[in-house]
């Protein structure tokens, strides 16, 4: 009996203790959660402040004249951004048309054909492993190294000078891993039944890839390409050492030019025309926001398509 009483008393004491303990734990939880809310909010505040500051200050200099006149050159910081917009568009087309076929082809190979190669032992097996590692390495190479590489190979060794072509080739190397990775992911989400259906109908492997898999994966591939467009528009380091920076309109693939992002850098560090640098930045940010919106919508639809909802 005595033992039983002891037990109860102890039990009650424990119970009271754990209640107090629970309060303490709940308090710590509340405190920590508010702290994390605060930190996350701070992150968003930084973003909104940065974007808001650039857009609200940049919009002051943006008018039709700013968009349609070319930069005056020299250190005056006068003029608009017309030629830089055109150069940026040229660069986007050039890099994408070089990198997209290579990137999509590489991704198709790695997902659809590489597994067959892996069954046969030998050189091919090693090569596939080496390709995979190379893509990973490329994705981590900082852009200034791509610039240095482009400077050594295209600008100096191949004597393409500071030109759209040099910049386009270097830029293509920069976005190649992005396109490979996103295309691989897109192809992986195409259900196996699509392949089996096509092969069962008597289509060859390549017919299946070209007529069934690539069209199904297209939204994902386009997402990757849009992502790369964003990378090219935002890139500066590569073009700083390969594009030359001329403010004139490029006449052909071998003329020098200046992209919008490069123009921001040159305005800010060489002329101190901060208002115009902010104006150009505001346009860049708005473009990036639209590209991101597009990617979000596209990838949402893509995942909807295959989740069957």
């Amino acid at each position: 009996m005595a033992i039983f009483t002891d037990f109860t008393n102890e039990h009650i004491a424990q119970n009271q203790g754990s209640k107090k303990n629970l309060h303490k734990r709940k308090f710590i939880e509340k405190f920590s959660f508010s702290f994390i809310w605060l930190a996350a909010t701070f992150t968003i505040v930084i973003l909104f402040f940065l974007v808001g500051y650039v857009i609200s200050n940049g919009i002051k200099v943006i008018d039709l004249e700013f968009l349609t006149t070319r930069p005056a050159g020299g250190v005056s910081g006068k003029g608009g951004i017309s030629t830089t917009v055109v150069t940026t568009i040229y660069l986007v087309f050039l890099t994408i048309s070089i990198a997209a076929p290579l990137g999509i082809g590489a991704a198709v190979f790695m997902i659809e054909y590489a597994p067959e190669f892996l069954k046969t032992k030998g050189f091919a097996t090693h090569l596939i492993q080496i390709i995979r590692t190379s893509v990973e390495i490329l994705a981590g190479v900082p852009s200034i190294i791509f610039g240095l590489f482009g400077f050594a190979v295209f600008v100096s060794y191949m004597k393409l000078k500071f030109s759209l072509l040099s910049a386009g080739l270097s830029g293509a190397c920069l976005i190649l891993p992005v396109i490979i990775r996103t295309t691989e992911e897109a192809i992986l989400t195409v259900p196996k039944s699509y392949r089996e259906g096509s092969l069962a109908l008597g289509a060859t492997k390549w017919q299946t890839v070209f007529n069934v898999i690539l069209p199904s994966a297209m939204p994902g591939i386009i997402t990757g390409i849009i992502l790369s467009v964003g990378r090219v528009i935002a890139e500066t380091a590569v073009f700083w050492v390969t594009l030359g920076g001329s403010y004139r309109l490029p006449k052909n693939l071998l003329s020098s030019g200046r992209s919008m992002a490069l123009h921001v850098y040159m305005l800010a560090s060489e002329t101190r025309a901060f208002d115009k640098a902010l104006g150009t930045s505001a346009i860049l940010i708005v473009i990036i926001i639209f590209l991101n919106l597009f990617i979000n919508i596209a990838s949402r639809q893509f995942s909807k398509k295959f989740s069957g909802k």
Binding site: R25, S32, A39, P101, A106, A124, V141, L291
Partner: protein, 294 residues
Amino acid sequence: MMVRKLLLIIASTSVLIVGLIFLFTFIESTDAIYQIGLGDLLTGTIWRPGAIIGDTEGQFGLIPMILGSIYSTLGAILLGVPLSIFTAIFLAEIAPPLIRDLFRPAVELLAGIPSVIFGLFGMIVLAPLIRNFEVAGNSGFGILNASIILAIMILPTITNVAEDAIRAVPDSYRHAALAMGATRWQTIITIVLPAARSGIVAAIILGIGRALGETMALIMVIGNSIAIPTPLDGNPLTLLLATARTLTGNIAVEINYAAGVHRSALFFTGVLLFLLLLIINRIAHFILKERKIS
């Protein structure tokens, strides 16, 4: 069969590019290695390309830039890592779905903003603020400015990878902890985060790689001086206000007009950077792969 071979050749482009990057930067840097010597390049404390001073004898020691890269990256990690990890915990564990759907695109947007715009922001907004510290020689440009800008720039990288790692922890872990009477916070701290630890470490390593590789934003805010960064006065904290130059900045600032050994020394800077980031990224990939297997 033809198609397969053609695709194999296309897929090998990446190997070719990696090979060419290494080959060309290495070949271009051999002049510097022979004429200056590896030891002098890596331990020399003075960087003075002759062409600028008008003196024929240049000195090419990379210690100032190595220190500049280390200081600015350390600063960025100190400021950026806590914020990134908290944001990742928030997105993965705490945020209500609606808030998360608003926050995620915002973090993605941060990753897409051109680096020159961060640099511009540092020049126009941060520099005048930092100039308020009344220390002789404080220009507003320097390690502190660079660290803040870098911290913002590495935030999306670390947040995304860390969030994935936290999300990858099986729900059964959480349920077990909650069923044992742990609060949600105790579950996160004692169960979820330790389980996601290796992924979070990989996230931080990738963030370090991103910080070391950043170029344009840094040359806009760090001051680009070629001297070893030292505190401006007796207070060691004023080291943060000192101007510096990073390895990446060294290449970008001088490559367009460099010639001879000077040019070769810049390529050597590139080789150093390439190898450094190769190691860093390989470690991060290795950790992430080990996680997937387990």
